[in-house]
């Protein structure tokens, strides 16, 4: 959610029940501006809040030139002092997937441990070794934010476009979806590297506009029904909530270019989703 529009868009996404206190909103207004200047970001977004047992993490993202790949994440406890999160590499993602379980504790230096028996050596004599995988909570936070962005970050179709040289930028002439289009899930796209785009038949690809349709639409997600699309306040605001990562809320006001998403939740993927639908 853009820091410039934070003060009124927070009211729209409070259907989840979790909002920010007035103290935190005031703090964010001051600190995000300073952050933008210090790190020389183009835009700063307030990404959301991950609830921990002892304290909560507030996450902000700063965007450079390319909207999709040039993102840096920062976290804070009081919305004033921000710390940079390490970038999430594949090796780190694997470690976190193995070692962590349960809720976030709220202490970034908390270590999660897991002993894993790995087989090293090739050929006829594999050697079993017990490897202790240790991950601290800061890395877990970085990986969680990265995965949530990769899996459930949502943007309306037409809001971003791809330049001929490959960079993704905001579409300044995006005027919003009309109320009919806003009710269809296929007009919302995942904001991450597309997986299914190249598997489409040529007939389907002929209907797409390559500068706008370079992302996967939400309607092709498995399991079907993992998104809840509702209109709140009459048809003024379209809210999309993810059921896979409970707590991710996306809002869009039809016929206006306003849109954004925020995550307020425990940071846990809902693996029981097929049972719950």
């Amino acid at each position: 959610m853009d820091s410039d529009t934070l003060h009124y868009s927070l009211d729209l996404v409070s259907g989840n029940g979790l909002t920010l206190t007035t103290e935190q909103r005031a703090a964010l207004q001051t600190s995000l501006v300073i952050l933008k200047r210090n790190y020389k970001f183009n835009r700063v977004l307030f990404w959301g809040r991950i609830l921990g047992m002892k304290s909560d993490y507030y996450i902000a993202q700063g965007i450079g030139e390319d909207e999709m790949s040039d993102r840096k994440c920062l976290y804070s406890f009081n919305c004033i002092d921000w710390h940079l999160l390490p970038p999430a590499t594949d090796a780190l993602i694997e470690e976190v997937a193995v070692a962590t379980k349960g809720c976030f504790t709220g202490d970034p230096s908390h270590e999660y441990e897991q002993t894993e028996t790995r087989r090293l050596g090739e050929g006829d004599e594999p050697v079993e070794e017990e490897v202790m995988v240790k991950v601290n909570e800061e890395k877990r936070l970085a990986v969680t934010v990265f995965i949530i962005d990769k899996e459930v970050a949502v943007v309306p179709r037409g809001a971003y476009m791809k330049n001929p040289n490959g960079t993704v930028q905001t579409n300044r002439s995006f005027e919003g979806l009309n109320p009919y289009e806003a009710g269809k899930l296929r007009n919302y796209l995942h904001f991450s590297e597309p997986k299914n785009l190249k598997k489409k038949s040529i007939l389907e690809m002929a209907d797409l506009n390559p500068s706008i349709d370079f992302l996967d639409p939400l309607s092709e997600d498995i399991p079907k029904g993992s998104w809840s699309l509702q209109f709140e306040q009459g048809s003024r605001v379209c809210m999309i909530r993810s059921l896979l990562w409970q707590g991710l809320t996306f809002f869009h006001m039809p016929m206006t270019p306003q849109h954004g998403y925020i995550y307020t939740g425990q940071g846990l993927k809902s693996l029981d989703l097929p049972f719950m639908l």
Binding site: D11, L12, S14, G15, N16, G17, L18, T19, L20, T21, T22, E23, Q24, L51, M53, K54, S55, N78, G102, C103, N163, Q169, N171, R172, S173, P179, S211, G225, S228, Q230, F231, Q233, G234, S235, R236, R241, L243, Q246, G265, Q266, L271, D272, F275, M276, L277
Partner: protein, 509 residues
Amino acid sequence: MHRAEERDLRRCRVAIKIYDHLTRVLIKVMDERPDNAADVFEDLSLEVKRSQLQDRQSTLRPSPEPTAALTLAQQQKGLFSQGAGDEQEEGLVETPLPNLAEQSFFFEQVGVGLGREETQRIFLALKQLVDTHLLQRCRFWGKILGTEANYTVAEVEYRDGAEEEEGEAEETHEDEEKEGEAREKDEEEVVEEVDPLPKSTYKPPPTVPKEPRGSGTNKFTYFACREPGLPWVRLPDVTPAQITVARQIRKLFTGQLDAPVVSYPPFPGNEANYLRAQIARISASTQVSPLGFYHFDEEEGEEEEGGRDNFVENLNFEGISVQEMAESLSAWVHHVQHINKQGRCVWVNLAEKTEEDFEEEAEEEEKEEQPDEPEPEVGPPLLTPLSEDAEINNTPPWSIRLSSHLIPQYAVAYVRSNLWPGAHAYACGRKFENIYIGWGLKFLGEPYTPPVLPQPQQAYPSGPEITEALDPSLEEEQALKAALEEQQAAQEENEGLEAEEEEEEEEDD
């Protein structure tokens, strides 16, 4: 014909001449002066083309169909109209309406809320509810999110007289249904006696009776509505069977109260019952108050079986300091009874037999102890502090905070449940409140595993008609036939002798 059409199309395309179009686009660029004109050039061109078309179509009349926004707005307009009886009752009677504005202010201080306009609408909807029904107490319980629509839930306690009327209407309806079913069964039994099918020997476990309204899980009544402004629907009372099944399934709500709940084990009821069961579980686990706000009425004599469930507001309560409330969990207590495994708050001994059975068994087993008598289940008593709550999977069940570290003098103490994500409570001096805003699911800590299906039952009782036996061999059959013939011959001789004897006797007479 085909070629003529092609020629027409070409002429239409040429009509939008490229020179004119480029002129219009460049005029637009010079008027608007966008920042990166080269990047958005194609969009500008499309916009110019679109604006050309719109001029020709402006003779269309606007669509008369009401949009969803309009229908909802018209329904919600009713919220803002002032009722007729309002002016008389101002300030005279203690209203059961809660001060939702004050509560939402405190909740905002701790970061929980639904947005100011939404809360205001809920406030007005609650007022409507209070005006239409005779209520003793009313409270905004919370909001449950669903996949298609959400539920706003209000917890309500009726005044003594009003409740019975509504209860009677429901009970008569249930009785009529039962009578109808009994009549059908009589007819069916008559037909079946001619050729009885094998009857199943399966006896389902006895159903646990539900708690009467006003006590235990059914202490309060709940109303739900989809959006504030739409009519409130009363949720049915909850039965222990529903609670037991709700503990075993994990389902999201859809937003339609009459939707079926498809699950294993099968849920006895539709979504309204499931919603009520989850509300009961959430209330029992997460409704808390500061220690000392409620205390037991000291006039009661002995302790009843199953614990006391009547508590009264302590009028001498002066409030615990916010610092203390924000640090220790023992300053908070549950004020709703815990639901035990049976699905009720007060345990019921199902093994108690009726009088007939008792007499029969008394003859057979006079002094034998019955080893199967179940032990009574006792849950934690009312008003136990939160520090006694059990952990799940190494997660503490509650998180406790102060709302602000910068201004601790006026801060609010806040407690959040980790077992039911979405349950919050605040306390500030003498004021406190609970709320639940969430999806209505419990935090399991480990992935959900559905219960295993039971073993298939034996399809038939074994008996002589169905037991297999070897067919007799040829020699055995012949031997049997010879034996039967001898028997018959012997019988005929006997009969012949008897007949002769009778004739002789008759002749004698």
